[in-house]
Symmetry: C2
Subunit: 116 residues, 2 copies
């Protein structure tokens, strides 16, 4: 069973590459810690290769739809809000982690999204 | 005591922003898990705000020097190698996590580096 983590990033926020990297880093850690506690089997399976895929959506509406789909589908999902110290207003939702979880489940939610 | 995590990224590899984000994501998770086990007090202190700073170096030589400095200084440090499935040759060292650890210690190693 292939276990992967997908991070979905908004492209409408005009974030620089360092900002994107930090937000995705938050998402990776939140998602990994969530699943380490909630589903240790998935976490262990994922840990060896730690497959991560970074995908994009056009705006908040699309990101919120992905988060709702993941939640309805019972997939672990962590939305990331920026603290707003630098480039963005406080509380701006920048990205979300889905998984680590079985690839075939995640692909049902994010299979149509393009790589960032 | 402010605890932060610094990720140092090579800029000479011509990585796209999604690739950089995934590599930084790896570094964030490896660094966080390392310190969760090796220094639970630092980890707990860091967890609330999860301060992350993404910095840059020009090439592998500079990254290796930072890693050596961090190790000599006794700071938790995780170098990240790419699996090489996509844009880079297998084993390419792309970035490193230093910390989470006290800010004043990390700044002695990375204080002169610029934001990515």
């Amino acid at each position: 069973m292939a276990i992967k983590q997908v991070i979905v990033v908004r492209t409408d926020l005009d974030m620089g590459k360092g900002k994107i990297a930090a937000q995705v880093g938050h998402a990776c850690v939140m998602g990994a810690e969530h699943v380490r506690k909630s589903n240790p089997d998935w976490f262990s399976e994922w840990w060896e290769a730690q497959e991560k895929v970074v995908l994009k959506v056009a705006n908040l509406k699309e990101l919120e739809q992905i988060i709702r789909d993941a939640q309805e589908f019972g997939l672990p999902c962590s939305g990331i809000s920026d603290a707003g110290h630098t480039q963005l207003p406080p509380g701006t939702v920048t990205c979300a982690s889905i998984g680590p979880a079985p690839e075939e489940k995640i692909d049902k939610i994010t299979g149509d999204l393009k790589l960032l």
